[in-house]
Symmetry: C2
Subunit: 246 residues, 2 copies
């Protein structure tokens, strides 16, 4: 058997997230596994770099899977793109070392959250941008608050699952807040992110940007290790997994 | 009464085109007219620069309408964006001279047709790009053919309505064929375009690009004034009305 690494893009609007669910629901992992299983004739399991929530998109999700050696990479790529639904695309397929594991080998990830803060909706990208019209967001305040996120912290306050048993310590290496025309986009790079973490970080930065939370109260929000101290959970559709590093 | 000029963007996917249809169907013109009528309390008619086919999009459609003087431009802009569906946005509203007529005052229009000629689908913009995978398109051949379209011609061969009674003479001032990554986009500028004309021109240029039609046979295709001589009608979803000149 040969191990393969694939880079995958998806519009997550209609999916119940990346990962196959015990209770069913349509997932991106499930769709890819189904097409590969159909191609090979036996069950093929697909390993992703990590989950993305329901409704979250990906520009560079990474997965790996084992296939019989007879399948060439162009054949696999074309087969996948022919049979996958139009909201999932495989950008590349390449042979990988047998030790390559999309989740365990992952060194870091970058997510982008996009916000339209104008009164005019973006009709063409509305499924990929959060249209926030409640108040004007001050980008400089967001930047000030974002600085406090950098480093190794216990991000329990920003975790959507307050019953989590595993470690909630993560390292964020970069948070950049950018503005282009009426769009604000925030890029988060780190070694990993907890459930809903990027969306809660974004909701908190928006609350800072509109004056509801002071930028300098960020360290305290982190220290309390309590979800209630942080801001709201920004909706999933503004979020996209940009890339995964190995 | 005050005349207003508005610039409108829409994702045409779900609409039966710009123009209100006698036999019903949901149209962009109809939606805008409904919201303005609700705002004013009396019927408001909306004049567009011209129709766009069902499924065609617009980045810069222009319309005008008469409203009682008491409504300010920011009020109208915000009211429209609040009550229009999320696939229609009004980018600007300004006071216009009483003689301004979106259709009759129009001096020219620019349309863009977008083609993805790779095997990998574009998941995020798939509703705005024609994914053409039948063959590899030679952009240089398209450019050569496009030159013959420039000027004042009878475009009957490129008209979707072969029972048209009005003149089918139009002037095309520019056709540019561009390639960026895997995307080919063709920009057409002219004083006006016949029904389906940009889509038939595009289908013909694709037929040239894949070697089915010779670039130098374009003058003959124009001269025959017969729809059968031209190429296929490219699907509506790749087409967007970029801007209208006055």
């Amino acid at each position: 058997m040969q191990n393969f690494k694939a880079i995958i893009q998806y519009d997550g609007t209609k999916y119940n997230g990346w990962q196959i669910q015990r209770n069913g629901g349509v997932t991106i992992q499930g769709k890819i596994s189904d097409v590969l299983t159909q191609m090979v004739g036996n069950q093929v399991d697909v390993v992703g770099s990590g989950r993305t929530d329901a409704g979250v998109h990906a520009l560079g999700q990474v997965a790996n899977f084992l296939l019989p050696e007879k399948f060439s990479t162009p054949y696999i790529l074309n087969y996948l793109n022919r049979y996958l639904p139009e909201d999932i695309a495989v950008v590349s397929v390449e042979k990988a070392d047998e030790r390559f594991h999309a989740r365990f080998s992952c060194k870091g990830k970058t997510y982008r959250y996009r916000i339209n803060n104008s009164l005019i909706p973006n009709v063409f990208e509305r499924k990929f941008i959060y249209h926030y019209t409640d108040a004007v967001i001050d980008v400089d305040r967001m930047r000030e608050a974002a600085k406090y996120l950098i480093g190794k912290h216990d991000f329990m306050s920003f975790c959507g699952n307050q019953h989590i048993k595993k470690s909630t310590v993560r390292t964020i290496t970069e948070v950049s807040v950018n503005k282009r025309d009426n769009e604000i986009y925030i890029d988060y790079t780190g070694d990993g992110f907890l459930q809903n973490m990027v969306r809660i970080l974004t909701g908190t930065l928006i609350d800072v940007g509109i004056g509801k939370i002071a930028p300098e109260s960020m360290p305290q929000i982190i220290e309390t290790k309590n979800r209630a101290a942080a801001g709201f959970t920004a909706p999933p559709h503004g979020l996209v997994l940009l890339c995964v590093e190995y």
